[in-house]
C-alpha cells in the first residue's frame, strides 16, 4: 500500500485524526507521518536522545488514535469480548485504544490480530538477528534441519538412496531432540 499523502513511499503508519468525533484515517509513509507530527509540535524535543522515528510513531499513536488499523468497535465484533490476554488481562480492543501492546504474552494471544500491523511496519520478514542464549540451541537445530532436508531432497532426486537413508536417520534424531524440548 502506498502512502495516501505523497503516493510515493510505502505506507507504514496508520494515522488517525478525530475531528469533532468524526474519525478519519490515513495510511502514511514514515516521512509524511513525521512531518505531520512535526507540524503539531510533537517529536521535536531539543537534542532528543530518543529514537527519532520510534518516538514519532509512538507520539502519533498516543495522540491520534492507534497504530492498529481497525477502529475499536470493529475489532470487538471480530474477536468477541471474551478473548483476554492470559498475562496482562488486556482485550485486543484495549490494545487498539492504547496503541501499544500490553505485555509479551499479548503477542502470542493476539498473534493473528497483530500480524497485519506488524507487516505494515516491518514488511513480511521474520527475525534474523541475535537471540537470547536459551533460544540459540533450538535455532541452530532448526537451521541444521532445514539444511539436511534440502540435502535429502537432492539425494532422492539423484537416486542416491544410501545417502538419503543416512540423511533421514540424522534428521529423525534432530527432530526427536526438538520434540524433547
Amino acid at each position: 500500500m502506498l502512502c495516501e499523502k505523497c503516493n510515493k513511499n510505502p505506507a507504514t503508519v496508520m494515522y488517525k485524526e478525530n475531528i469533532n468525533g468524526h474519525v478519519k484515517s490515513f495510511a502514511l509513509c514514515a516521512k509524511c507521518a513525521s512531518e505531520l507530527t512535526e507540524m503539531t509540535g510533537y517529536g521535536k524535543s531539543v537534542y532528543s536522545q530518543g529514537d527519532s522515528l520510534g518516538d514519532v510513531f509512538e507520539n502519533v499513536n498516543s495522540l491520534f488514535g492507534s497504530l492498529f488499523g481497525l477502529p475499536a468497535q470493529q475489532v470487538r465484533r471480530q474477536t468477541g469480548e471474551e478473548k483476554k490476554c492470559t498475562l496482562c488481562g488486556a482485550a485486543f480492543a484495549e490494545l487498539v485504544k492504547e496503541g501499544k501492546v500490553g505485555c509479551p504474552e499479548c503477542y502470542k494471544v493476539f498473534a493473528e490480530e497483530l500480524a497485519p500491523t506488524i507487516s505494515r511496519i516491518h514488511g513480511t520478514g521474520v527475525h534474523m538477528g541475535t537471540a537470547p542464549e536459551r533460544y540459540k540451541e533450538g535455532r541452530e537445530r532448526k537451521e541444521k534441519i532445514a539444511e539436511l532436508e534440502s540435502k535429502l531432497k537432492r539425494a532422492v532426486e539423484a537416486e542416491e538412496y544410501e545417502e538419503a537413508a543416512k540423511l533421514r536417520d540424522e534428521l529423525r534424531k534432530l527432530k526427536s531432540e526438538e520434540g524433547d524440548k
Binding site: 518516538d55 520478514g125 538477528g129
Partner: protein
C-alpha cells in the same frame, strides 16, 4: 569518560554514534499495565544482575532532582522521555564503557551505548556486552519469528535503534537535507534535525537512524548505516570545500569565535548558532589548534540542565546566561588554541 570528553573518528562530520537495544522481561506487563510493586521488582532484578559488576553503578533515577534528570538527558545518557518520568525508574551506567541502561523507560530495559565520532560498531559491541550479562540472568521476552518483544511493535525484531549524529552545515546551507531525507527513506533509514528541522537557530546537527528493526540482522543495520554516513560525510566535505573555504566565511567564523571568547552573557540560541559556524571553521582548519570536540563539549555543558546542575547559584535566566558565557570561556581556554 563521557562521549563528549573524547575525540572520535571522522569528527569533522560525525559527532557521536549510539546504539540502543530494547529488551523486556518475559513475565511482566509493559508500561501502563505494570503496577508499582512489579515495577520495583523489575528494578531490583536488574540491579541484582549488575550488583558487583565492575565499572557499573546503580541509581534510582526518579529520586534524582528534576535538574539532575534533565542534565543526564542533556548529556545524551538518557532520553528526555525517561528523564521526565515520575514513576519508578532506574539507571545503570558505566561512563567508562559508555553504557547506560534505562530501566522502565518505554520498555523494561533500554540498553544504550553512546560513543564519540564514527563508532557504531564499538557502540554495538558495548551494548551487546551488557545485553549478554542480562540475558544470562533474566528471562527476556523473545519469539522466534518476532524476535525481541517490545511495548511498541515498531521496535520488534532486533529491538535495535542505531543512530549517528552528524554535523551538516554545508548540506543544510545548500538545501540538501530534503533530498537526503527522500533518499534515506527509500532504504529504510531516516534523518531528523536535532532541534526543529531547518530552523536557522539550530546547530546543523542531524540524527540518521534505522527505521526497520525486524527481518534484518544487527550487523546489516550497522554496516548499512556506517556506509551511508560515510557517503553523506564525503558529500558534506565536498560542499564545505566548495562553499566555505573562502575569506568571507573565515571572517564570519572568526567573529563568531571572538564572541564566544569575550561575551559576558550568552543565551542558548546564540550559543548554538555560534557553535555551528565555529565548528565548521575548526573542521576546515581555520582556527589554529581548536579541536571540534571542545565545541561539542561546550554545547553539552551549555544546555540548561547541565548548566543548572553544575552551578548552584543560578536563579534567573540572566544568571544562566552569565554562567554559560563563563563556562564557554573556561572550556575554550582549556584548549591550546584560545
Amino acid at each position: 569518560m563521557l562521549w563528549y570528553e573524547m575525540t572520535g573518528k571522522e569528527n569533522d562530520v560525525v559527532v557521536s554514534s549510539r546504539v540502543r537495544l530494547a529488551r523486556n522481561l518475559a513475565d511482566y506487563p509493559f508500561g501502563g499495565r505494570l503496577n508499582e510493586p512489579s515495577a520495583l521488582e523489575i528494578i531490583e532484578k536488574v540491579r541484582g544482575v549488575f550488583d558487583g559488576a565492575s565499572g557499573y553503578s546503580f541509581t534510582q533515577f526518579n529520586m534524582l532532582s528534576d535538574t539532575s534528570r534533565r542534565a543526564e538527558a542533556d548529556r545524551h545518557k538518557v532520553s528526555p522521555e525517561f528523564a521526565a518520568k515520575k514513576t519508578p525508574t532506574a539507571l545503570i551506567e558505566s561512563d567508562e564503557k559508555q553504557i547506560y541502561i534505562m530501566v522502565l523507560e518505554e520498555d523494561h530495559l533500554r540498553i544504550q551505548s553512546i560513543k564519540p565520532g564514527a563508532s557504531l560498531s564499538e557502540a554495538y559491541a558495548a551494548a551487546l556486552e551488557a545485553d549478554r550479562m542480562i540475558d544470562g540472568k533474566l528471562r527476556i521476552a523473545y519469539d522466534e519469528k518476532l524476535g525481541y518483544l517490545t511495548h511498541c511493535p515498531t521496535n520488534l525484531g532486533t529491538g535495535m535503534r542505531a543512530s549517528v549524529m552528524l554535523f551538516l552545515p554545508a548540506i543544510t546551507a545548500t538545501r540538501g537535507i530534503r533530498s537526503l531525507q527522500d533518499q534515506l527513506g527509500k532504504i529504510g533509514l531516516t534523518i531528523r534535525g536535532m532541534s526543529g528541522e531547518g530552523s536557522s537557530g539550530d546547530g546543523c546537527l542531524y540524527q540518521v537512524s534505522n527505521q526497520i528493526t525486524l527481518g534484518t540482522t544487527e550487523e546489516e543495520i550497522i554496516t548499512k548505516l556506517e556506509k551511508i554516513c560515510e557517503n553523506i560525510a564525503e558529500k558534506e566535505r565536498e560542499l564545505r570545500r566548495k562553499y566555505f573555504s573562502d575569506e568571507k566565511f573565515n571572517d564570519k567564523a572568526m567573529r563568531a569565535y571572538g564572541t564566544m571568547l569575550y561575551a559576558i552573557l550568552m543565551d542558548s540560541v546564540e550559543m548554538t548558532k555560534l557553535y555551528s559556524d565555529v565548528r565548521l571553521a575548526a573542521a576546515l582548519g581555520m582556527i589554529d589548534g581548536l579541536n571540534v570536540n571542545v565545541l561539542d563539549k561546550m554545547l553539552i555543558c551549555g544546555m540548561p540542565g547541565v548548566l543548572t546542575e553544575e552551578n548552584e547559584n543560578i536563579n534567573t535566566p540572566t544568571d544562566r546566561d552569565r554562567e554559560r558565557a563563563n563556562m564557554i570561556r573556561r572550556v575554550l581556554s582549556g584548549n591550546a588554541g584560545a
